[in-house]
């Protein structure tokens, strides 16, 4: 009898050991939006390396979801949120932080991630991933937009005092005078201030507003009246409108381009430098955004967060830490040409320490301003884009922004009862 019990207990013990061992490997699902081929392959490789490093403990399934010409990835996230089929970890665009956090899709990282991991990260990334005082997401690359200029064309017109850092940035009036001077010789002074109705308009144009001391939404993210139509916002966009009115730039640039050497200035991000490699005959440099009162420049990029559906947030945090450590940041920025989100990693990128690309890094560290953190971002950005487009095509700035602010507030009232 005793023998039998002993046998039974030992079988039980062995089975539980085997099962326990198998259960210890935590399985996580990781969603990445489809991007450039090389970039996606880089993510896949990093996840493979993670699985090797954490063998027996954590296993991550890497899933790429195509954007299908625009909103495919976001649609998939919506449907998954509604049907309770969210992954454990997901990629999201910068301004979606508050939207997803408020909707209960993301869980805060704050209590799981140690401070030492965050120390080295640029402030714009922390700000972008934060809503309501809590950190929800982290990313490994950053962006900035600055003015690319044609050195030869600047020489021909005799433009001097070209700024070499954010501290020496032109004021708006100085920039305006340069535009006027360039217009005397060239069909347009600058391109890049227009585009289709998409995120570019919000991303590129909001720094003009912040630079003038204005904003597009209240700090808590729930009120547009008094911000989107504040006197500072109206003034900033009226000044940008002047460039259009006086033909210094145009909404439809009629195929005129910086790359072909027809226009002396263009607004563009780090990708501008990559494109310009195909145009070796253009001798170009970069100057910072002009400033109104304080300097402000665009930032923002995709990042990763943990969903509320994740049952193993501790293990998921390990994945986020891995995807935002120095090795990942270094590898990713080598592949994409974007700005590293870790200050220490800049040592591996000497090109960002000297002109022209230095300007992008200088802007990011000194004046980088992510888009606002608000649950109403989806509505706000569409209304801002439309208002900006209308104003630059001749609409009255004050009336347009008043109407836009009212619409945003109606929406906030409907969805968030604020």
């Amino acid at each position: 009898m005793f023998k039998k019990i002993f046998l039974f207990v030992s079988i039980l013990l062995i089975t539980s050991l085997i099962l326990g061992e198998a259960q210890q490997e935590v399985k996580l699902v990781f969603w990445q939006h489809g991007t450039g081929l090389e970039e996606t392959e880089f993510y896949r490789k990093r996840i493979e390396d993670f699985n090797k490093a954490y063998k027996g403990k954590i296993n991550v399934e890497f899933v790429v979801i195509e954007r299908a010409g625009g909103m495919g990835y976001e649609e998939k996230v919506n449907i998954a949120a509604a049907s309770g089929e969210l992954p454990d970890i997901m990629a999201l665009d910068g301004p979606y932080t508050a939207v997803y956090a408020e909707a209960g899709i993301l869980r805060p990282l704050g209590d799981l991630i140690d401070k030492t991991h965050l120390q080295d990260i640029v402030p714009s990334i922390i700000k972008q991933g934060t809503w309501n005082g809590k950190l929800y997401a982290l990313g490994s690359m950053e962006s900035s937009v600055a003015i690319y200029y044609n050195k030869k064309m600047f020489r021909e017109v005799g433009i001097k005092n070209i700024p070499t850092s954010v501290d020496k940035a032109w004021t708006w009036d100085e920039f305006y005078n340069v535009c006027k001077k360039l217009k005397q010789k060239y069909p347009l002074a600058i391109v890049g201030l227009s585009g289709g109705l998409d995120e570019w308009l919000t991303y590129m144009a909001t720094p003009f507003v912040w630079s003038n001391g204005g904003d597009i939404i209240s700090p808590d993210g729930y009120k547009a009246e008094g911000y989107l139509n504040s006197p500072q916002t109206v003034e900033a966009l009226t000044k940008v409108q002047q460039l259009f009115k006086e033909g210094l730039t145009a909404w439809d640039t009629g195929g005129l381009s910086f790359e072909k050497g027809q226009v002396p200035m263009m607004l563009s991000g780090p990708w501008g430098a990559i494109i310009l490699k195909n145009f070796p005959e253009i001798e170009w440099g970069i100057i910072p955004y002009p400033k109104f009162k304080v300097h402000a420049s665009p930032t923002g990029s995709w990042q990763w967060g943990i969903t509320t559906k994740c049952k193993n947030p501790k293990e998921a945090t390990e994945v986020i830490k891995w995807m935002t450590n120095a090795d990942t940041v270094k590898g990713l920025c080598k592949v994409t040409g974007m700005l590293p989100t870790r200050k220490s990693v800049y040592l591996a990128f000497p090109e960002f320490s000297k002109l022209p690309l230095y300007i992008l890094k200088d802007q990011l560290l000194k004046s980088g301003h992510p888009r606002p953190s608000t649950p109403a971002y989806l509505n706000l950005t569409v209304e801002f884009q439309k208002a900006y487009a209308d104003i630059m095509q001749g609409a009255d700035p004050k009336a347009t922004l008043d109407a836009a602010a009212k619409r945003v507030d109606t929406y906030i009232q409907r969805q968030f009862k604020k």
Binding site: A82, A103, G104, Y411
Partner: protein, 295 residues
């Protein structure tokens, strides 16, 4: 069970699959849309859907951008439907004549209608852009360049021109089939009575195409009310809202801003407009008629 009852049962069984799919894919979503239009459903928060009465509809009609979109859509329908129908009829009459190269001409004109709308819109966008071919030829002929898509007064008309150009090509085929259905004996009788080309057109051709007219007017009106691709690709609703349409606004509210309640309310407004127009047209053009020819 009597054989008649059995037959009826079989009949119902045969239409059952169609009824089920109709129920799942048409009737159920329609009822759901009615329901959602009375709620504040926000796509990211399916757990909290509140009944808000008619406030969505009140908001729709108080928002200038939406009433403007409805107005633009009406303008588009009122201009594009008659013009494209007339053009299609002219194409069909022309291509119904006997001449050398008729099949080639038919193929060329019809081929326009099989190009995807997105491709057409992109090609036209290039053609009418400020540095496009049309402005290039205008300059050669000594005319000033036109701002087509950048002018609040020209943008919608440019889109109408594109849609008419493409839609007329497809409708031409239907008219052509209708023309060939008109009995030759009617024309012979008219000729005997000394009718000329115009009289034959007014007294034989057009009455003979009555059913076709009815069909084309209703389908093209409903199609035109749903105008989206052209403005979406060519102008994104601009400049300054001049080409904003109901469906473009729906895309903004439903897809971009994820406001299901407001989106459902807007689509119901669209549905009611389409229904009213269809009823008016049926009354105006009249019931379908059979042309009976005794031979």
């Amino acid at each position: 069970m009597s054989s008649k009852k059995k037959e009826m049962l079989y009949g119902y069984l045969f239409i059952l699959p169609a009824l089920i799919s109709l129920g799942i894919f048409m009737i159920y979503p329609t009822i759901k849309t009615f329901y959602y239009s009375l709620t504040d459903f926000y796509m990211l928060k399916p757990q909290s859907i509140n009944f808000v009465g008619l406030s969505n509809f009140k908001f729709l009609f108080s928002d200038y951008t939406i009433t403007n979109a409805i107005k633009n859509t009406f303008y588009f329908v009122i201009i594009s439907v008659p013009v494209q129908t007339l053009l299609a009829l002219l194409y069909a009459i022309f291509l119904n004549q006997m001449f050398i190269g008729r099949s080639i001409a038919r193929t060329i004109i019809f081929s326009v209608s099989v190009i995807p709308g997105v491709a057409v819109a992109n090609v036209w966008k290039m053609l009418v852009s400020s540095d496009g071919y049309i402005n290039y030829f205008l300059k050669l002929l000594g005319f000033p360049p036109q701002p087509f898509l950048n002018s609040t007064s020209q943008a919608m008309n440019t889109i109408i021109a594109m849609v008419v150009w493409q839609a007329a090509a497809g409708q031409m085929m239907i008219f052509l089939a209708g023309l060939q259905d008109i009995p030759k004996s009617l024309y012979e009788a008219a000729e005997m009575d000394g009718a000329n080309f115009l009289q034959k057109l007014i007294y034989v051709t057009i009455p003979g195409l009555r059913n076709i007219f009815n069909f084309i007017l209703i389908t093209s009106t409903i199609g035109a009310l749903g105008i989206f691709t052209g403005p979406f690709i060519m102008t994104a609703g601009g400049p300054r809202g001049a080409t904003e349409t109901i469906f473009l606004k729906f895309y903004q509210i439903f897809v971009l801003q994820k406001d299901v309640g407001l989106g459902a309310a807007l689509i119901l407004v669209y549905f009611i407009i389409a229904l009213i127009l269809a009823i008016i047209q049926r009354k105006f053009v009249g019931e379908e008629r059979q042309v009976v020819v005794e031979g």
